[in-house]
Subunit: 358 residues, 2 copies
Amino acid sequence: MSIEHFWAVIPAGGAGTRLWPLSRRTSPKFLRDLRGSGRSLLQETYDRLVPLVDDRFLVVTGAAHEVAVRGQLADLGPGAVLAEPSPRDSMAAIGLAAALLELADPDAVMGSFAADHVIEGSDVFATTVAAAVEVARDGWLVTLGIEPTHPSSAFGYVRAGDPLAGHAGASQVAAFVEKPSAEVAEGYLADGGYRWNAGMFVVRPGVLLDLLATWHPDFAATLRRIAADATLLDELWPTLPKIALDHAVAEPAADAGRVATVAAGFDWEDIGDFDSLAALLGADGEGTMAVLGDASLVRAIDASGLVVPDGRTIAVVGLDDVVVVDTPDALLITTRSRAQDVKAVVAALPESGHDGLT
Amino acid sequence: MSIEHFWAVIPAGGAGTRLWPLSRRTSPKFLRDLRGSGRSLLQETYDRLVPLVDDRFLVVTGAAHEVAVRGQLADLGPGAVLAEPSPRDSMAAIGLAAALLELADPDAVMGSFAADHVIEGSDVFATTVAAAVEVARDGWLVTLGIEPTHPSSAFGYVRAGDPLAGHAGASQVAAFVEKPSAEVAEGYLADGGYRWNAGMFVVRPGVLLDLLATWHPDFAATLRRIAADATLLDELWPTLPKIALDHAVAEPAADAGRVATVAAGFDWEDIGDFDSLAALLGADGEGTMAVLGDASLVRAIDASGLVVPDGRTIAVVGLDDVVVVDTPDALLITTRSRAQDVKAVVAALPESGHDGLT
């Protein structure tokens, strides 16, 4: 049974350049099956949400990916996929969805869930989201706060404040905290009052837009004008600020005491690079070679890390924590510890006349 | 001007499994352009010898490679390529050539030069071979002794004995020495009396067969029977011992005082594995990435070693002394120090149903 008037908003954007050559501009990571499950990350996001919302989806994606998104989510009606004329960061994408839902369903509560996150434990996810919806109905901007499993310096954190009366497990958010150093992250883990900010927000559309109007009145007004008259989209969209929802609304709203967090106990991964993908696929840094795809193609001798084959035999001899990614037109070889630097390869491709590979 | 009655015998065999996947059973290393010169190692061997012998070639190769060899050496007449019914090591291959030449040209001197060696300095090579032919005419089995440039433990050595009267630069061979330890190799280099045994022999065919007859009378007799009646080849060939020329003839002949060596000052490389190929192509172990093929396909960031591209872009990030070999159906990633272990990959392929890749 779905949650009444609850809508799933899925911002499906981001190139995932640190996952090149698996992820491309033309085939970003949310369209890829990065877990060998047979479903793309976008499809897994849909699968996780469909029991909670039935057909109440709004997927906001780039015009370049509209056809692919509709193809992967064939059960959705034509109105459920919105194509942005150009990328203008998350506030514009999620704000437009909010403005449309504000008009379409006065009782709507929306939840925004990125298309490229990996979540284990559908039941815990459903329970957590249902709790967040209840809090959101009371007018809060609710963020799901993931219980940290290790002292990550790759994620931002939310610091929980006072418990919220009437909502077990919910607290006010005292502050959003930027990605910490490893040392500070250790402290956060020991403290117990810090949770990972996974960028999953649950809120009534009107509340979100009114909060936005507090700090960016023109932004909110423009979104509402577009929602009221779709013919204005192409003209007004390029005038919207490029800003993340966190900075535009969530952080100032937290300072104003308007943000709540619900503790989330499910496993969550933002597969940002091949190091985290390797970990997700079972590479333990102690001799295991993880394979995304047909493992019978991989011959590892004294080798560990991650191999992504693509139809050809791949032999790896005498390399630990290596990353090998095979695609029809490009091949990447690096190490887990240098996984972040893949970005530099992609950045340099256009200069060298290999723009088609990005 | 060529050397009168001098014949080049080129044993073109050996799979080169340590150069997999570049080298295959169906496309062994002597058929490959391993230097980016536009010519295969076999063709370079031919190019080096043709000024010395004109059309006096005998290339002995496996039946499986006969068509490819004839294709690469299209200037040779049909009788210049001999196909072995099955591989029976170097004594049988070179011995058959000797038996044929003994009949065809009573004044013949033959030089045996492997099809997969790399030699720099054609003029020095020509001078050295001409000197060796003069010594061989006097009835010696002559081996070219390469002046060592470093204390290699990858090659066997010849120890020079007394100088040979009447032949400047030539000496008797006191002994053939097996591949030494690194420490012993240092001693050889310091001693000055040791040279690399490159397996290049110059000898009158009858002398070679008579020496063989001393220790393996049936072997020599069978070779002479086949040479006299080609219809016996298929029947008698499988009865020949599988033994290297060094063991069958050169070593016992050296003990008997019948082997001479001519000092060779040209640069010589037996590209046994990707480590030596990397060195040959300029990888210096100090940050240089050598590329065999189209260097514009390779993006190396903080990476060194050897990349062999095959039409696709290859990005290597953060790996030193790495070896990456791309082919249409198989991909190898290893390190220069583990280059020898590629053999193990190839050995395991048939077991796993990937026999077609060997």
